[in-house]
């Protein structure tokens, strides 16, 4: 893969936000070109061509974990920016906590049948069960929210990685497509091979860590599309467009 990063004295590092900005402030940031003021992006009419080369078309697969041109907006989106890919971790990666939730729903009934709560007053057993189910609901809800809203977005201008580590901690990383070096993918292990998902790592020329999309479906296609978008941007820059 050619080195698609061109050092041009503009070594803008990936931008990481761990802030809690009000939405209006964020929207204001989204106006008037890129964060580095470059405003460079791949024209929308070329996106279809790039997707066609990668064997893709607008679609939504795997419960929204792999969406091509979903037509969705995201925070800090710029006026002439379009979402090309919206990725989440493969749904199968949720199987661990889903099994725990199912176990959590079954467990109280089993324990009552066994008779472990016989010495406990009935009202405590009743309230205990309700509170337990509430806890299980809360656990499941938190896991779902962290999965559903931790997204990796590829636009015609940049990569945006939104990670919710837990309920109180959010990391938003932006990397312009003309600042990336080598998109790469890693797959391995039985589950990843069976369900066709893996990690996509995009290195940048800056000191900041790489941008990663972990456990996303079809990592080969993601790498191909990101590479094509970046190359197209580079060609346009060379032509002075």
């Amino acid at each position: 893969m050619p080195d698609i990063y061109v050092a041009g004295g503009d070594d803008t590092p990936p931008v990481q936000d761990t802030e809690e900005k009000p939405p209006l402030a964020k929207a204001a940031e989204g106006q008037g070109g890129g964060r580095d003021g470059s405003g460079q992006n791949v024209p929308r009419e070329l996106i279809s061509e790039i997707l066609r080369k990668a064997g893709e078309m607008p679609r939504k697969a795997l419960w929204g974990a792999y969406s091509v041109r979903p037509g969705k907006k995201f925070i800090n989106e710029q006026m002439d920016e379009e979402v090309v890919l919206l990725l989440r971790a493969h749904p199968v990666t949720n199987s661990g906590w889903i099994l725990l939730v199912i176990l959590g729903l079954i467990l109280p009934g089993l324990l009552v049948v066994i008779g472990i709560f016989e010495p406990v007053p009935a009202k405590f057993v009743f309230m205990g069960r309700l509170i337990w189910y509430l806890g299980v609901l809360g656990f499941g809800l938190e896991k779902f929210l962290n999965w559903y809203y931790s997204v990796f977005i590829v636009t015609n201008e940049r990569l945006v990685d939104i990670d919710f580590i837990n309920l109180l901690y959010r990391v938003v990383t932006h990397v312009n497509l003309n600042h990336i070096e080598e998109p790469s993918m890693t797959t391995g292990g039985l589950a990843r091979l069976m369900f066709h998902y893996g990690d996509v790592t995009v290195s940048t020329a800056a000191e900041n860590p790489n941008v990663e999309a972990l456990k996303v479906p079809y990592p080969d296609k993601v790498v191909a599309i990101v590479s094509e978008l970046a190359e197209e941007l580079e060609k346009r820059r060379e032509r002075g467009e």
Binding site: F74, K123, M127, G128, I131, L141, I162, F164, L167
Partner: protein, 86 residues
């Protein structure tokens, strides 16, 4: 022994209070305290769901907001129920 009994009786209302403490009474207040702490978690979840739904546009956003609010409401109801029923 008689002196001890006299001293205990002199404690008055405090002694009466201590005599009223039962195992299940303690358990009840543990549960209520836990539920109040859980209520804080549920409220944080409502706030965080707001931040999350602002991040990405999705068809599920309104459902998510509804779910976290129902979760908070259920927490409040169960906390009150724990106080009343137990």
């Amino acid at each position: 022994m008689e002196n001890l009994n006299n001293n205990i009786n002199n404690l008055g209302p405090a002694w009466e209070f201590l005599r009223g403490i039962t195992l299940w009474g303690v358990v009840k207040w543990f549960i209520v305290t836990g539920m109040v702490l859980y209520m804080v978690f549920a409220a944080v979840m409502v706030k965080q769901a707001g931040v999350m739904t602002e991040s990405v546009e999705s068809e599920a956003n309104s459902l998510v907001k509804l779910l976290v609010r129902v979760h908070l409401l259920a927490t409040v109801v169960l906390t009150v129920a724990a106080l009343v029923v137990l």
